[in-house]
C-alpha cells in the first residue's frame, strides 16, 4: 500500500507547492500528548501511594487523592490520547487522501485550544468541580470546550475524507471517518443526557454507553486505523485479507456501541439491556479475533522483524495485549464472573491493560517511527528506546497480573462476608506491587523523554523530503505552473 495521489519533489518552489503534511502540527501534537501522558502517570503514581499510606501531600486540598485520581484518568483521554491521535491523524489522512487539511490555520489554533482545555481541565478537577460521569468528569462548564476542540479536529480531517467522494477508500479511512461522528455523538450523549435529562438507572445505562463508547468509538477506531496504515508500510507488504478487514470494521461498528451497559451488570438497569450488553460483548471478541488473525497473517514469514524493528515490536505487542484484553472482556462480562470481580481491582487492571498496553504501546511505536522524520534528527540512542520498551512492557504486564489476582481475592473476601477491613489489609501487598510496577513504567517513559531531549542535539541526517502538493488554485488564487 502506498499513499495515493501525492507527488514527491525535492526543493519545490515555495509559491507553487506546499507540504502535504504540516510537520510542525504533527510534532506538536505528539509531543503534547507525551507530556500529558507523563503528567497523568505522575498523578497515577501519586494516587497509588495513598493506598500504601504514604501520600505525601494529602493535607493540601487541591491535591487530595480523590481529585488527583480524576486528573490521572481524564488526562489519559483528553490529554494523551486526544493529542496523540490528532497528531497521528494529521499525518495519515493527508497522505491517504492526497489532500491537505482544508483549514490548516484553524488546526494550528486548535492545538493551543486543546492545551488550554487540558490546563483548565486539571485546574477545575483539582478545584473540586468534577461532573459525576465516569471518564467524563470534565466539569459541566468545560464540556462545550472539550466538544469544540474535538469537533474542530474531526472537521478538519473529516473534510479531507469527505472530499474523496464516491471512490472506495483504504481501511484506515473507514475507521477514521466513522470515528469523527462517533466521538462527537458519544461525548455529547455522555456529558449531557445523564446530567440534565435522564435520571436514575436509565441515565446509568447511558453513562455506561459513554464510558465504553469513548474507548470503542473514539480511541479504538483511531488506533486500529493507524495500525492498518503503519503496519503494512513498515512490513512493505499489503494487509493479508481485505475480507477480514471488512468483517473487522463492520463487526466493530455494529457490536461495539451495544456493549456499554456491561459496566453496570446486576444493577437496577433493566435486565434485557444487561443481557444484550453481555451478548454483544462476547460477539465483539469474535470480530476482534478476525482482525488479529488478519494482522498476524500479514506478518507471516516476517516474524524476525519483531526483533529488528522497534515500531513493529510495539505494534504487535499491543495487538497481543489487545487480544488479551478482549479475551478477558468476554470472560469477565459473564454475569456469574461479575458476581466476584465487579467493583474489584480486576477492572482497574483491565483498564490499564487496554489504555496503556494497547493504545499507549501503539502510539509509542508510532512515535519511535515518526519522531526522526518530524524533527529531521535520528534517535540519540537506540538502547534507550529498547529500555523504554522493556520497562514499559514489564511494568504493565506486572501491574495487570497483580491487579487481576488482587481483584479475584477481593471479590471472594467480599462474597464470603469477611470484615471489610480484611479485604483492604489483604490488598496492601498487591497495591505495593502495583506502585512498583507503575514506577517501572514511569522509568521507561523517562528513558524516552531523555532520548527525545538528547536527540535535539543529534547530528541532523539528510533533511527529510516532505511530500508536496500543488497549491490549491481555488483557495490561494495562485495558478500552479
Amino acid at each position: 500500500m502506498t499513499p495515493a495521489a501525492v507527488v514527491a519533489l525535492p526543493a519545490a518552489p515555495a509559491d507553487t507547492l506546499v507540504p502535504l503534511v504540516d510537520l510542525t502540527l504533527v510534532r506538536r501534537h505528539l509531543l503534547a500528548g507525551f507530556i500529558w501522558l507523563l503528567t497523568s502517570m505522575f498523578a497515577g503514581l501519586l494516587v497509588s501511594l495513598q493506598f500504601l499510606g504514604h501520600y505525601p501531600i494529602d493535607f493540601v486540598e487541591i491535591f487530595s487523592p480523590g481529585r488527583v485520581r480524576m486528573v490521572h484518568t481524564n488526562l489519559v483521554a483528553f490529554g494523551f490520547l486526544l493529542n496523540s491521535m490528532a497528531g497521528v491523524a494529521y499525518w495519515i489522512v493527508p497522505r491517504l487522501t492526497g489532500l491537505r487539511l482544508p483549514w490548516p490555520r484553524v488546526a494550528r489554533f486548535n492545538f493551543w485550544l486543546m492545551q488550554l482545555m487540558d490546563v483548565l481541565l486539571i485546574g477545575l478537577l483539582l478545584g473540586g468541580q468534577a461532573q459525576a460521569v465516569e471518564w467524563g468528569e470534565t466539569p459541566v462548564i468545560l464540556d462545550p470546550l472539550v466538544a469544540l476542540v474535538a469537533v474542530i479536529f474531526f472537521l478538519n480531517i473529516g473534510a479531507c475524507m469527505f472530499k474523496i467522494g464516491r471512490r472506495p477508500v483504504y481501511v484506515t479511512l473507514w475507521y477514521f471517518s466513522a470515528a469523527t461522528i462517533w466521538t462527537a455523538l458519544t461525548y455529547l450523549m455522555g456529558n449531557y443526557l445523564p446530567q440534565f435529562f435522564v435520571p436514575g438507572a436509565a441515565g446509568g445505562a447511558i453513562a455506561g454507553l459513554y464510558i465504553h463508547d469513548l474507548v470503542g468509538l473514539f480511541v479504538t477506531p483511531l488506533g486500529w486505523g493507524a495500525m492498518y496504515f503503519f503496519v503494512p508500510l513498515l512490513l512493505k507488504r499489503p494487509i493479508y485479507s481485505h475480507a477480514l478487514s471488512l468483517i473487522g470494521f463492520w463487526g466493530l461498528a455494529f457490536f461495539y456501541p451495544l456493549q456499554g451497559v456491561h459496566h453496570f451488570l446486576w444493577s437496577p438497569i433493566p435486565m434485557y439491556a444487561q443481557y444484550g450488553a453481555v451478548v454483544s460483548t462476547i460477539a465483539v471478541e469474535i470480530v476482534v479475533a478476525t482482525v488479529i488473525v488478519n494482522f498476524f497473517l500479514t506478518l507471516r514469514g516476517q516474524m524476525d522483524q519483531l526483533r529488528t524493528s522497534l515500531p513493529l515490536r510495539w505494534f504487535y505487542t499491543g495487538m497481543i495485549l489487545y487480544f488479551t484484553t478482549c479475551l478477558q472482556c468476554s470472560i469477565q462480562v459473564l454475569l456469574s464472573v461479575q458476581k466476584i470481580i465487579h467493583f474489584s481491582d480486576w477492572v482497574v487492571g483491565h483498564a490499564h491493560l487496554v489504555m496503556f498496553g494497547v493504545f499507549g504501546f501503539w502510539l509509542f511505536g508510532i512515535m519511535i517511527h515518526l519522531w526522526p522524520k518530524l524533527t529531521g534528527r535520528p534517535w540519540w540512542s537506540e538502547k534507550l528506546n529498547a529500555w523504554h520498551y522493556w520497562l514499559s512492557t514489564a511494568g504493565l504486564v506486572t501491574m495487570f497480573l497483580d491487579l487481576l489476582v488482587a481483584g479475584v481475592m477481593q471479590g471472594f473476601l467480599w462474597r464470603d462476608l469477611a470484615p471489610w477491613e480484611a479485604s483492604v489489609i489483604a490488598s496492601v501487598p498487591f497495591w505495593a506491587v502495583r506502585t512498583v510496577a507503575g514506577m517501572t513504567i514511569a522509568a521507561g517513559q523517562v528513558c524516552l523523554a531523555w532520548n527525545m531531549w538528547k536527540s535535539r542535539g543529534a547530528r541532523a541526517h539528510a533533511p527529510m523530503v516532505p511530500y508536496f502538493t500543488p497549491v490549491d488554485a481555488t483557495r490561494s488564487g495562485a495558478s500552479p505552473t
Binding site: 493506598f51 499510606g53 494529602d58 487530595s64 487523592p65 480523590g66 481529585r67 473540586g128 468534577a130 459525576a132 465516569e134 469527505f162 467522494g165 471512490r167 472506495p168 471517518s177 466513522a178 461522528i181 462517533w182 455523538l185 450523549m189 445523564p194 435522564v198 435520571p199 436514575g200 438507572a201 436509565a202 441515565g203 446509568g204 445505562a205 454507553l209 471488512l246 470494521f249 463492520w250 461498528a253 456501541p257 451495544l258 456499554g260 453496570f264 446486576w266 444493577s267 437496577p268 438497569i269 433493566p270 439491556a273 444484550g276 450488553a277 461479575q338 458476581k339 466476584i340 467493583f343 471479590g411 467480599w414 462474597r415 464470603d416 462476608l417 477491613e421 483492604v424 489489609i425 496492601v428
Partner: protein, 212 residues
C-alpha cells in the same frame, strides 16, 4: 461498504443510533412509569441525624445553616452531594447493592430502580469500584461524630483504612485545639451520607428494615 459516505451514514450514524435506541432509549421507556422525584419527595422529613448535627456543633451549624428546617436540610443534602462528587467519593464507594455475592446480607436491602429515579441521582452515582464499602444504606448506621472523626482522619477510627483525610471540611485549627467542628461543607457531607438509604422506599413500609 468502503465509501466514506456509506460509512458515515451506516456505521457513524445508524449503528450508533441503533445502540442508543436499544441500550439507552428502551430502558428509559421501561422506567418511564416511575415518576421522577424531586428532592422534597425523597427527603420529605428532616432526619434525626441533621438535628443531632445542630445539637452537637451549634455554633458551626448556626454559621452554616442557621436553623434546622426542611429548607436548610435540603440545602445541606445538595451541597453534600456536590462534595461527594467533587472529592471523587464515588470512585471508591458504590451506591448500589447487588442481588448477588451476599451483598444484601452485608449492606442491606438490594437496590431497586425506583430509588434512583430522582434528581439526586442525576447523574446516577452507581460507582464502579469499591475500595471502601457500598454506601447505599449508610444512613443511620453510624453516629455523626464517628463520621466527623472519620472524615478528619480515617485511620483514627478504622486503623487499616486507606481513605484520604479531609481536614478542609472542618473549621480551621486555632491554637492547636482538636477536634474542630465540621464547617458548612463538612456538615453537608455528613448530612448527605446520613441520608443515604433513608429515602422512602415504595416496596418497604417505613422504617427501612435493618439487615443482620
Amino acid at each position: 461498504m468502503e465509501r466514506v459516505r456509506a460509512i458515515l451514514l451506516l456505521a457513524g450514524v445508524f449503528f450508533f443510533a441503533l445502540s442508543f435506541a436499544l441500550m439507552g432509549v428502551l430502558p428509559m421507556v421501561t422506567l418511564s412509569d416511575l415518576p421522577t422525584q424531586t428532592l422534597a419527595e425523597v427527603a420529605p422529613v428532616v432526619q434525626e441525624s441533621f438535628v443531632d448535627l445542630q445539637e452537637r456543633w451549634p455554633a458551626a451549624f448556626d454559621k452554616a445553616f442557621g436553623e434546622v428546617s426542611l429548607e436548610s436540610y435540603h440545602a445541606a443534602l445538595r451541597r453534600g452531594r456536590e462534595i461527594y462528587i467533587g472529592e471523587g467519593c464515588w470512585h471508591c464507594h458504590s451506591q448500589f447493592v447487588r442481588p448477588v455475592s451476599n451483598e444484601g446480607l452485608r449492606f442491606g436491602p438490594v437496590s431497586i430502580a425506583e430509588e434512583y429515579q430522582n434528581e439526586m441521582q442525576m447523574p446516577v452515582l452507581f460507582g464502579t469500584r469499591r475500595v471502601g464499602p457500598d454506601l447505599t444504606r449508610e444512613g443511620g448506621k453510624r453516629p455523626n461524630d464517628w463520621h466527623a472523626a472519620h472524615f478528619f482522619d480515617p485511620p483514627s477510627v478504622v486503623p487499616s483504612s486507606v481513605m484520604p483525610r479531609y481536614p478542609w471540611l472542618f473549621e480551621p485549627v486555632v491554637g492547636g485545639v482538636l477536634p474542630t467542628p465540621p464547617n458548612r461543607d463538612g456538615l453537608s457531607l455528613i448530612a448527605y451520607v446520613q441520608w443515604l438509604g433513608k429515602w422512602p422506599r415504595p416496596d418497604v413500609e417505613a422504617p427501612v428494615a435493618e439487615s443482620p
